[in-house]
């Protein structure tokens, strides 16, 4: 069982990311894609926070903003006691030692021109003064811990299958013994039979090294399994955040409800019985989100107020926050 402490490791405060849309002769800014539109949450030590949402809702951007791979438009990210947005690049490099990322596409996230050994040892070269032999030892050790044959260091990524590549990516993320890892859809590109292997590996590693995860995914069932708390995003905002158990058993926000009901169950008996909430229409463009509640245009229960004012972020019960007028 996970030993979640109550100490906060990472805090995100009203984080905003707008990508400008420019037009005309002088590249005047005429609007912006509001990828992340003011989100706040915190992650406690050794927990796994799940971040779910449909494509384009800003969940991956959030991950990148936290790791400072993108500059935030507004808002702050606190890691341990450091405010990451304002520290210099040298300090940031130091902080990177403790924060790593696992990527979605195991094929795309490994440089095809580098051997497995050099991919995994790259962070060490950047941050640590180890000699060749020490590095080699460490690489073998890492390969071992992600369940790969340590002898593969001289091979290239394309010689591996998808699941194995993802293990290499995980080994790279572990190379500097970080405390915090952003897992950006780490299983989305994997075959069903491999997904479980990777999830189990991630759980084992968390146990072993005391890691904290931000687990970004669109796979609701997998999030349910791995996350201790879950945040649901829609169009750049978090609409609901609760413990995994709470969220899946008592969803409050109409979007969360619809989302959960849309997931097909692998049981024909349940599936035949169940009544789905079918949302109408598409997700609006983040360049031009609806006023008021972002979900108002598709919400089956929207009221007048929903179209006008954005709902507040409220705690409705202990640890269960939601942004909806109707709750």
């Amino acid at each position: 069982m996970k030993k979640v402490t109550n100490k906060s490791l990472l805090k995100v405060d009203r984080l905003v990311k707008h990508f400008p849309i420019t037009k005309g002769i002088f590249r005047k800014k005429v609007g912006s894609v509001k990828a992340v539109d003011g989100i706040s949450f915190e992650i406690k030590e050794r927990e796994t926070l799940g971040l779910v949402g449909e494509s384009g809702c800003g969940k991956s951007t959030t991950g990148r903003l936290i790791l400072q791979l993108l500059p935030a438009t507004a808002g702050k990210v606190f890691f341990k006691d450091h405010e990451l947005n304002s520290i210099g690049s040298a300090d940031l490099r130091k902080q990177r030692l403790q924060m790593q990322m696992i990527f979605q596409d195991p094929q795309d996230s490994l440089n095809p021109r580098m051997t497995v050994g050099s991919i995994i040892s790259e962070p060490m070269i950047e941050h640590q003064r180890l000699d060749r032999l020490q590095r080699h030892e460490r690489v073998e050790q890492l390969l071992n811990s992600v369940g790969l044959d340590p002898k593969v260091t001289n091979r290239y990524p394309h010689e591996f299958s998808g699941g194995q590549r993802q293990r290499i990516g995980i080994a790279r993320a572990l190379a500097l013994s970080p405390d915090f890892i952003v897992c950006d859809e780490p299983i989305a590109a994997l075959d069903v039979s491999i997904q479980a292997q990777v999830i189990n590996l991630l759980e084992d590693l968390q146990e072993e090294f005391g890691l904290t995860y931000l687990f970004i995914s669109h796979d609701l069932s997998m999030i349910r399994h791995i996350a201790s708390r879950v945040a649901v995003m829609y169009l750049g905002r978090i609409v609901e955040l609760a413990s995994s158990q709470e969220l899946y058993s008592r969803p409050v926000h109409p979007y969360t409800k619809a989302l959960l009901s849309a997931v097909p169950l692998h049981d024909p008996v349940l599936e035949k019985k169940r009544k789905r909430i079918i949302l109408i229409g598409d997700v609006p463009s983040p360049a031009n989100p609806p006023s008021g509640c972002h979900f108002s245009t598709r919400c089956p229960v929207a009221e007048n107020n929903c179209f006008k004012t954005a709902p507040e972020w409220r705690e409705i019960s202990s640890g269960h926050n939601v942004a909806c007028h109707l709750v």
Binding site: R64, P112, R113, E122, R155, Y156, E159
Partner: protein, 308 residues
Amino acid sequence: MTDIAKFEELSQEAVSKHRSLWGDVWIQFRKHKGALTGVFVFSFITLAVFIGPYIHDIDPSAINFKKRNLGPTLSHPLGTDNIGHDTLAQMLAGGQVSLAVGFLAMMIALILGTMIGILAGFIKSLDGPLMRLTDLFLALPILPLLLVIILLFRDTLRTLYGPEAGIFMLIVFVIGITSWMHTARIVRSDVLGIKEREFVTAAYSIGTRKSRIIFRHILPNILSPIMVSATLGIANAIITESALSFLGLGFPPDFPTWGRLLYDGANFIQITPSRVIWPGLFIALTVLSVNYIGDGLRDALDPRLRGR
């Protein structure tokens, strides 16, 4: 991933087990018969041109008035020209220059183009200015300017470095400086693509320095378009040099290059056809083989045809 793509990937896996990436390219490249022939022909020409003079050791500048306009003989396998130069010796000497021009001009264009392309693609604030510069170079009418530049600097360089080295440097430089733009554009668009790939983000996330990102992550991954550009660059430079010779602005008359030999021999096409056939054939063969190599490389490096 669709099923079919998966199969294509699978089919690649077997091929590439335990082989480095370039080994893999080589396997693919070998399938391209034209390219393979190209490599063979090009290596043959290169070897012949650089080793040939040790076997056929007539001085290319030696003249023999009594033996002029000869057809092929045992001592002059390709005959002689109108002032008694040995055509084969001239072909070999000319080949060295032509190949050197092609290679060096290509290198200049390549280095320049790659540098500008990488900077433009990688550093956002430089993208605009550098691409405008590229547009500007593309919009400059090259041939006229080429002619003018040659007229302009020929004599300065000639006095500085001697008639041959000077004009050689000038022509190499001029061809190089006027043919980097396409490489720059291709490299830039590739860099823009690579920059968005997750492994680059991954490198950032582990705190890799920008210079290392360029040299370790970006450069190796844009090598394929650069290689293709390189082959096309050689071909282009050889052709341009011969065209300059034709317009009378290439190397001096006593300095053989294939282009120059072809130009000089052209008038003698009915008397000593070998003076036209050989340089013409060798320019064409070289350019042809290099183009085929480029074609083969393009196929071999095509991500659609092979797993990355």
